[in-house]
Amino acid sequence: MILSVASGKGGTGKTLIATSLALSLKGRGKVQLLDCDVEEPNAHIFLKPVISGSEEVLIPVPHVDENTCTRCGKCAEVCAYHAIAVFGEYVLTFPELCHGCGACSYLCPEKAISEEGRESGIVEWGHSDTIEFAHGRLNIGEAMAPPVIRKVKELAHDNGTIIIDAPPGTSCPVVESVRGSDFCLLVTEPTPFGLNDLELAVETMKELDIPCGIVLNRAGFSDDKVEAYCRKENIPILLTIPLDTEIARLYSRGVTLAEGLPEWREGFVELYGKIWEIVDERSRCPQR
């Protein structure tokens, strides 16, 4: 089962939930955690994995053989990202704009364009106790997270439980992270910002046809509008975590709930059970 943890709003506790869940499932089959928040990966802070391997993420960018090139301008015409241009005798490439689609090299009439890899990030993998771990890191100054996310997801196992820690927001890095998941846990907090961004995240999951459930974090202090919204939308609240200074303190030191407050382990195992039931039921009677 592939289970994503996403949120809309940042800082609601995605990483705390993802890592605590992973640790709570110890002894219940193979568990792999993929940190797909490649702009600001934090899961390693909580899991402290032993890294056993790494690989650069390379974007295939054009390299023009100036001797073969006739300056016909076909490459510039076909590039949707303005990453290659011909000015008189000069052919200029802008590698940081290139998405690596390969159109220029394929369509060059003289076959003057080859591709070379440009590093935009790195993926690392290893393990933390019995949990298999992988994450990606976008290089500073790089704009495009999706290629790094794709590379992290290539490291996913074929079986067992895969937990994906997604980035905040609702745009392409989130879609890339949660795509193909059997279920998405949306972590929110009972505040106007939390609710506003939860609604956006729910819309995103609907669009992708991924069933979702809610973890309500820092509960008890604020209004009950998130609960009312979930009732109206028929989205289950699967776990509620109270606003608690002890939890905040543990979090600040990079300690999961599973380790810092082990009594929470059972709650996470139950959470997993509920998700499994929803996914199982859905697989028996597909809605579409």
Binding site: G8, K9, G10, G11, T12, T15, D37, E39, E40, N42, I45, P60, V78, A80, Y81, H99, G100, C101, G102, A103, Y106, L107, L138, I140, G141, E142, A143, M144, A145, P146, P167, P168, G169, T170, S171, C172, P173, V174, V175, R179, T191, P192, F193, N196, D197, L200, E203, T204, E207, L208, F221, S222, D223, T245, A248, R249, Y251, S252, R253, G254
Partner: protein
């Protein structure tokens, strides 16, 4: 024209609450919400919508099943795995147009992609430019660029010389788009290991784009040891800490009441934010 952008790396450190207070404190300014995929600033500023525009950006491939001979070439060459079973998955398509150029029966056309909306609103604090990225859309960086450009235009026509932007979390495309060319970045962090890790990366991005930065440690008393660590780190980096704001529940209370903190309460937090804004105006005046 001066432009301050508030960033954080890590989400949920308090960017929007702080920008909401700046809106109340700063005199003549245009406000810009550059967090286009999870915009929240409007929840504090009670905007009245004045102007609304669709945002079209990039393209998406569409296969005409009547013309498609199912040769499979498009699926083979697509680097983004966006075509399966002779159908384009719009959420995977990056709009490169490669497939449309090589399809033998010319069954693929590129259609303009609806990517969201942007708005100009009036608030009692001044004009606000904000946006909503279409669900799951890419090109958030271009929408951010549009928001900033509109904010600049508005400021110019109204003779305003300050823009305050609420930025997105992370360090990627929309952050770069919010940051490049700004006069000053305020980096809001929190004394957690995640907050510190993410601050280091977003400070790196400010360096990369040569934008000077100030740091604000929010909820500074939840872990004093980590706060000291941030102070030491900033000292080493030559980056000034402009404020330490202790944790206070009134920040959330103000949010629930839909008000900037400095208008909701006159307690310690409000005072710290007032001092922070003074510091920023001093830095901008240089």
């Amino acid at each position: 024209m001066k432009e301050v952008v508030v960033l954080s790396g890590k989400g949920g450190t308090g960017k929007t609450s702080i920008v909401g207070s700046f809106a109340a404190l700063a005199k003549n300014k245009v406000l810009a919400d550059c967090d286009v995929d999870a915009a929240d600033l409007h929840l504090l500023l009670n905007p009245e919508l004045k102007d609304e525009h669709d945002f079209w950006s990039g393209e998406v491939a569409v296969i005409d099943p009547e013309k498609c001979t199912q040769c499979g070439l498009c699926q083979e060459i697509c680097r983004f795995s966006a075509i399966d079973n002779y159908t384009v998955d719009a959420s995977s398509c990056e709009g490169c147009g490669f497939c449309s150029r090589i399809c033998p029966p010319e069954a693929i056309t590129m259609k303009e992609r609806y990517s969201g909306q942007w708005f100009i609103s009036a608030t009692r604090y001044g004009p606000l430019v904000h946006a909503r990225l279409g669900i799951g859309q890419e090109n958030s960086g271009k929408l951010v660029a549009t928001v900033r450009q509109q904010a600049k235009q508005l400021a110019e026509t109204q003779g305003i010389d300050l823009i305050i932007s609420d930025g997105p979390p992370g360090i990627g495309c929309p952050v770069i788009s919010s940051l490049s060319g700004a006069s000053l970045a305020l980096l809001v962090t929190e004394p957690t290991l995640s907050g510190i890790h993410d601050l280091e990366r977003v400070l790196g991005v400010c360096r990369h784009f040569s934008v000077p930065a100030l740091v604000c440690v929010n909820k500074s008393d939840i872990n004093e040891e980590n706060t000291h660590h941030i102070e030491k780190y900033c000292l080493e980096q030559g980056t000034e800490i402009a404020a330490r704001i202790p944790f206070d529940n009134t920040v959330t209370e103000a949010m629930i009441h839909g008000k900037p903190i400095v208008e909701y309460s006159h307690n310690g937090v409000a005072h710290h934010i007032e001092k922070l804004w003074e510091k920023i105006t001093g830095t901008l005046a240089g």
